[in-house]
């Protein structure tokens, strides 16, 4: 099957190159299909020795060398196939390449054929009996099928569906290969499905998926800003480093080093020197250092300017000194291993970790000691690599020894070094970060037996440590009895964590590449939860080109904040902001309107350079010029110093100003020790960002950003992830169909079966908090927040509300989302509602109470905001639901498939019973006409509104959990 991949490769050749690649390595020619690999170990324990060279070779198309082949003839093997075989421990399940090839070509043909048929069907289905594929493209009716490109038609969703449904190994293998032709982000969306299939389904499916996964986990990429691409054939090593293009090729009896004229891009510098200052020889030396470092020589740490040229000579000299015939293979072996160090995952660390986490989570439902279990877990272990290290060497010592004979001195030396490095690192939870980028990329071990271990370990560790400590905090918090203690404890724990930052860590929920530099610990809050302790933290990050390779920012001590900016202006900024937070000062609109009476501290920051509070006062106040405010008095008081004329003020004015100032701040919440998150969540995000930025020693940096994340411990987020996927899918369907339904899927990171992280919804507070804090009905709250009925602001907020309620009504109906109390529904500052907590969906409902039988939650309060039962907005609401349902129905398969695949092997409560999928399918009502659907929507709305169970459930929640 390995060969099938290679030879079939129209898709493979689409392999997306590394995004930053300036000059991709010359790809070796594809080799003719080799005979099936008969030498694969028959024992289930992977041979570390044979895995080492292959593991070290990243790019899919490049040629690997098995240890055997390096001895004699050179039958190149596709690296991926070998990898996955070794990983899957399959000795006997190799698909006959011929068969696979044929099957795949068939599929391809069918796909093409069917493209030519003009088909009026709205949905594509696969009929399993013939394994023929009928497919349909939704958009191409007018386009005409003849011009259709198959790759355009065949999208990821389809690929996943085929993978899931096809029983034909050849088809599966083909589709596995086709995965390469999609963009990363497309496939990443389906990663949970892929992994779940990988873990729970037949071996064939797993085999089909694993090349993609493995390659993504292992592909060569860059050491930025200098991209090094390496491709290896048994006796040919090509190293290219851009912008200098250096090629090091090694053939059995000859090493040639060629340097091509270098491409200069003006803005980059090399180790702090401009490009032109760096003699080429040094760079060559560095390249060789990369290639050979610590394998044979130990000089990489020399200062560049002087030693490297000398050392370079040495390198060449030593290299030549090997007795040619005997030693080269061994040496080469090591070089291959050495090259591993500069390999980068195409998917990156995030991908690796994500995969590992998901694998862990999805494997958790399985019984121990099943073979499949070991597949998912094995891949996970391989990624995390902690366990691999001790268990592997004894696995097959003979094999390992057979290749290299006896370990060469360099072996031992390097191994030792590597060990000592590890020891040093293990002393601190986050390994030292402030080494030049190439230092970080360095792989230390040269012993082939542990080849994958140190690199992976090193690479993934900081991030894993961060996640571990965050989850650990969550677990510890859960043991504390009161919210207040939890909050204090959280702040303390985070401050300890802060000492270890910045580090090469990032928030997995974020879009952009960045490094975490600081956690403003006093801003963190514990969220409302009865017995768990989920908490929300804010994280300061510095954006960068690539978290893997960009240098980690240096620590700026907390104290430096005072020297970095004018201390006093800063403090005032902070405290003014605090005051804002505290007393719930004005939103920006308010400020614009009414700030004539209050000096705007934010703007006056720069004016304060002096130390004395009194002087500051004078300066600031002198700048404001309104006539009836307090600052006027201060100005007066200064002038009166000179004129000695008494100034009189009315006590009534002072009292009035006081109440006015206080009244100006209607939209904030009061601090409540039992609900610490309310205040934090209510503060507008923009204000929070600028406030925290003011107080941060990193705040002055341009690439400073603030992120937030919710850390959850003790909760299974797999259902949340499933819901997120369905929401995303529906969202894109509605977008595609131009139905203005509004929903907000929030990102979920599953870390294990009982922990994870959630991307918080910004500027949103729960309806419960709204009620408790404002003591107003929802309608009155809308009026308070957005102005009276006729204002533009209110109307748009109302529209937002309707669109979001419609969206979530559908979601709740389709997914049967339960536990809809007001603590689980958020209201954002633009009027949208957002449902959170999808802990009870599909077949599960809370404690199996008979409550909540209505289709979705539609309280009279909601209806009021929508303008009453007869209002236009309410009609609009129902219309939106109908349109949304029709659109969703059209793409039902895409939704179903997500859920269906996840049901595989899952013990999640939402899949309880046998009718989950059927029920979901039925709720799309494929058989109804649009008129009938309209009636259905009416019924649903009616039923939900009249449902007393909603009310009952709310009061039940109030009694049991105090949620209003």
């Amino acid at each position: 099957m390995a060969d099938a991949e290679v030879s079939l490769s129209p898709a493979l050749l689409h392999l997306s190159p590394a995004p930053s690649a300036i000059s991709p390595a010359p790809r070796p020619k594809l080799q003719p299909p080799p005979p099936p690999h008969s030498e694969q170990p028959s024992s289930p324990s992977a041979s570390p020795r044979s895995s080492s060279p292959s593991g070290s070779i990243g790019s899919t198309g490049s040629i690997g060398s098995s240890s055997e082949s390096s001895r004699g003839q050179t039958p190149p093997l596709d690296i991926i196939s070998e990898d996955h075989m070794e990983m899957d421990l399959r000795a006997d399940q190799v698909i006959d390449p011929e068969v696979a090839l044929k099957a795949c070509q068939e599929v391809l043909l069918q796909v093409k054929l069917q493209n030519r048929e003009v088909c009026e069907q709205q949905h594509w289905v696969i009929s399993p009996d013939t394994s023929s594929i009928k497919e349909e493209d939704e958009e191409e009716v007018e386009e005409g099928s003849s011009v259709k490109d198959e790759s355009k038609l065949f999208d990821v969703s389809m690929a996943i569906s085929y993978l899931y449904k096809s029983k034909e190994p050849g088809v599966q293998a083909y589709i596995g290969n086709r995965l390469f032709s999609f963009t990363d982000s497309e496939v990443d969306f389906y990663l949970p499905q892929l992994l779940n299939m990988y873990v729970h389904m037949d071996t064939e499916v797993g085999d089909a998926i694993s090349p993609y996964l493995v390659s993504k986990l292992k592909i060569t990429v860059s050491i930025s800003p200098y991209l090094i691409t390496v491709s290896i054939s048994p006796f040919l090593i090509t190293v290219s480093i851009s912008p200098y293009l250096i090629t090091v090729s090694i053939s059995p009896y000859l090493i040639t080093v060629s340097i091509s004229p270098y491409l200069v891009s003006p803005e980059t510098t090399f180790f702090g020197q401009t490009r032109d200052d760096v003699p080429l020889r040094w760079i060559l030396g560095i390249v060789l250092a990369f290639v050979l470092d610590e394998v044979l020589f130990t000089w990489w740490a020399f200062p560049l300017a002087e030693e490297v040229p000398v050392v370079l000579d040495e390198v060449l000299f030593t290299w030549w000194a090997f007795p040619l015939a005997e030693e080269v293979p061994v040496v080469l072996d090591e070089v291959l291993v050495g090259l591993k160090g500069i390999h980068r995952c195409r998917g990156g660390i995030t991908f690796s970790l994500l995969t590992a986490w998901l694998l862990g989570a999805y494997s958790s439902d399985m019984h121990i000691s099943t073979q499949r279990h070991s597949r998912g877990n094995k891949l996970r272990k391989l990624i995390l690599s902690d366990e691999l290290k001790p268990s592997n060497p004894p696995a097959d010592p003979h094999r390992g020894g057979s290749v290299s004979g006896s370990p060469s001195p360099s072996h031992r030396r390097c191994h030792r070094r590597h060990n000592s490095n590890n020891n040093v690192d293990s002393a601190s939870p986050f390994p030292p970060q402030r080494v030049p980028f190439w230092g970080r990329a360095r792989r230390t071990g040269s012993n082939p037996r542990v080849e994958a271990v140190p690199e992976e370990l090193e690479r993934l560790r900081p991030q894993r440590e961060l996640v571990k400590s965050l989850l650990g905090i969550g677990r510890r918090l859960a043991t504390l009895p009161t919210k207040e203690q939890k909050t204090q404890r959280l702040i303390t724990e985070l401050s300890l964590l802060n000492h270890k930052l910045p580090a090469r860590v990032w928030m997995p929920t974020a879009e952009n590449q960045h490094h975490v530099v600081r956690i403003p610990n006093t801003q963190a809050v514990v969220l409302n939860s009865k017995d768990k302790a989920p908490y929300l933290i804010y994280v300061e990050v510095l954006e960068c080109q690539s978290y893997e390779t960009s240098p980690v920012p240096t620590r700026i001590p907390e104290t430096r904040i005072r020297s970095a900016r004018s201390a006093e202006s800063l403090d005032c900024g902070v405290s003014a902001a605090n005051a804002n937070a505290n007393l719930s000062t004005m939103t920006s609109e308010h400020r614009a309107g009414s700030f004539s009476t209050v000096p705007n501290y934010d703007n006056d920051d720069e004016a304060w350079a002096t130390d004395d509070i009194g002087q500051l006062q004078v300066e600031v106040e002198a700048q404001t010029s309104s006539s009836d405010n307090i600052s006027q008095f201060s100005v007066d008081s200064i002038t009166s110093l000179e004129s000695r004329e008494p100034v009189f003020i009315a006590a009534g004015d002072i009292r009035r100003r006081l109440s006015e100032n206080l009244a100006q701040t209607p939209t904030s919440f009061r601090r409540d020790p039992e609900d610490p998150s309310a205040v934090a969540l209510k503060e507008p995000w923009e204000e929070k960002v600028s406030r925290i930025r003011e107080g941060s020693p990193y705040g002055h940096l341009l690439n400073w950003r603030l992120l937030s994340v919710i850390v959850k411990c003790g909760d299974d987020l797999r259902q949340e992830l499933l819901a997120y996927q369905v929401l995303r899918q529906l969202q894109s369907i509605w977008q595609q169909e131009r139905v203005p339904l509004w929903i907000k899927p929030y990102k979920i990171m599953v870390m294990s079966s009982d922990s994870g992280m959630i991307e918080p919804v910004l500027n949103a507070v729960s309806l419960h908090q709204v009620r408790k804090q404002s003591q107003l009905s929802l309608m009155d709250y809308f009026l308070q927040e957005h102005g009276s009925f006729t204002t533009e602001e209110f109307l748009s907020a109302q529209r937002n509300f309707v669109q979001s309620v419609a969206g979530y009504s559908l979601i709740c109906y389709l997914l049967q989302v339960k536990d809809r109390h007001n603590g689980n529904i958020l209201l954002d500052s633009e009027g949208h509602i957002i449902h959170i907590d999808f802990g009870f969906i599909l077949s599960s409902s809370p404690r199996n109470l008979g409550f909540e039988t209505s289709a979705f939650k539609l309280t009279s309060e909601f209806v009021d905001v929508m303008g009453g039962l007869d209002g236009d907005m309410f009609i609009y609401y129902k219309m939106l639901m109908l349109q949304g349902l029709i659109a969703a129905r059209k793409h039902m398969e895409k939704v179903l498939q997500i859920v269906e695949i996840m049901q595989q092997g899952s013990h999640l409560a939402c899949f309880h019973g046998s009718s989950t999928i059927r029920g979901l399918k039925e709720r799309f009502h494929m058989s109804l006409t649009e008129e009938q659907l309209q009636v259905l929507v009416e019924q649903l709305v009616d039923g939900s509104m009249r449902s007393i169970t909603t009310k009952l459930y709310d009061s039940f929640q109030y009694v049991t959990n105090g949620i209003m």
């Binding site: 005032c572 307090i630 006590a651």
Partner: protein, 687 residues
Amino acid sequence: MSQVEKKAGLLRRTSSSKKPLKEKVVLMYDEIFAKEDPAKNNPRFWDELFLMKVNLEYLETKLETVDGEEVQKIQDNINSLFHHCVQALGEEHQIKVVNALQTLCALFRGVHQKNKSASGFDIINMLMGFDKAEQRMKDLMERLDGLLCGEGSESLKSLCLKLLLCLVTDNISQNTILEYVMINSIFEAILQILSDVSSRGQHGYDAVVLLALLVNYRKYESVNPYIVKLSIVDDEPTLDGMGMVVHHALTEYNRQYKDKEEENQGGFFSTLTSMVGSMFIADADEKLSVQTNEAILLALYEAVHLNRNFITVLAQSHPEMDIPTTPTTPTPTTPTTPLGTTPPSLDMMNNPELPLDPNLQTSNLLITFLKYASIVMQDTKDEHRLNSARLCLIILTCIAEDQYADAFLHDDNMNFRVNLHRMPMRHRKKAVDKNIPSRPLVCAVLDLMVEFIVTHMMKDFPMDLYLRCVQIIHKLLCYQKKCRIRLHYTWRELWSALINLLKFLLSNETTLLAKHNIFHLALLVVNLFNMFITYGDTFLPTSNSYDELYYEIVRMHQVFDNLYCMVLRVSTNTGQWKEPASKVTHALVNVRAIVNHFNPKIESYASVNHISQLSEEQVLEVVRSNYDTLTLKLQDGLDQFERYSEQPKEAAFFKELVRSISLNVRKNVSLNTLSQDVLLKEFSTIS
């Protein structure tokens, strides 16, 4: 080496059994104190000397007994001894280093004891000789620096610090030898000790005390390099380390105090702890009155005062007993003798602390300090405590002036429960601790100030402390006004405390005036009210609180009336108080306006409605409805204050304080250096 050891051991044993037989080392000392060069007959004399166990007592008394003329004669030998001591510090054998260090201790102390009256130059001459002094001291400091920074034994480092403490506490302001310590700075070595977790645990206390004393060497007369250096340190771990040492010392004090308090109250738990306690702390008498630790307080002061970066350390929160960060080494925070240094063995009690105890409060240095201050301020009768209380208030003054500190004091996201200690008093029950709400830290500071104000109105009036106290409140108010922070604090307590203070001043006018300028204090207090009256709109939390302010003033109008009468009377007389008293009259303008405006209104309201006794709500109603007809006069500079400066105002206090601290430290150092058997044992096994 081992042979010599054995010999020494044998010798010792015999010498202890037969008194008259002199130790060999004593004989050698005698040789030094003879006029001859001891190395003349025995070229290996110095080598051998440092292999012997030092007999500190003998050496010291010997030095003390030599009189002036003899000194001249044996000066060469002593110079030579000093020289060889310094040389021996560089030896490989740690035994020699230990002995040399101890010999040096003895030399410094002996010489000093003898030469109390003599000038420092004589001492230098006697020990080193003028011509070589500079070089010798340079060598000595370098060696010590090397030992402190090196990888060597911890006991050795501790001994080095003791030697330095000996040196520093020696009559600190006139000790010319210290000039050399100034020139050859060991500042970096001290910082290194503080930045490293394990060494901080063992020597942090000594290092911090040493630093505090060095900073205070002739600080008003010359440029002290340690002041300069301390003020620019910005290395986080170091500053944290310093904070941690102070934190531990203060926590330990608080704990001891609490134990003692519980002990007095009896109960099963307290007897248990005291039993356990007495197992560890031998002298229970000492424990009965927990003494203040001024040395550590001085260090805290210098850090807060000199180093702006240290402020952040104050807010660095960690669990109350900071176990997780210093898991390996127990920190010597139990000064058995309060002002002195600590033997590192006493800390076993801290260890069993569980870091995950849910009852464990989160704490930070500032909280600990506030608790400490609340204990110290309770009783200011004895001089040590008075000094400590004064220093506490000075530190708080510095903190209140610092904008960054103010920022986190008022940070609404940093809420803490601070259990301040309150003096049990006749007219109030002991407050139940547990009900204190979690609030921004500034509330605790204000509570502490209020607590002080109400508890110290006594005959022996601590005027100075009151002034500081009121000024701290004023500074905090200025910050709140400037940044428009509306603190949810029960201001009423503060107001009534201040009014009571005025009342006390009035009723004790004659006795107080004999000693103090009470008008200054009265002016400050009245101006606090003026702050509230004229700027209340910028920082009061609710509109009701403004009404309450008026209510409180009107309710207590008698006090203000009396005060006005008194100051008017004094200011119309000629005398030294004329000027300050007239200031108070001017300051009272608004308060009097309020009283005169509202009193008739309230009375008429009462008579109209036929109520003899108005309820609070009724008075507030009257107040609310009559604001508009009241005109106030704006006063100048209410929101301005004089910044704290140590010189010249506080110079005398600090000089005296440093003197007493150094005396105490010295006393305790001497006790410890005498029992170095442990040390010797350690090294005899090493070599």
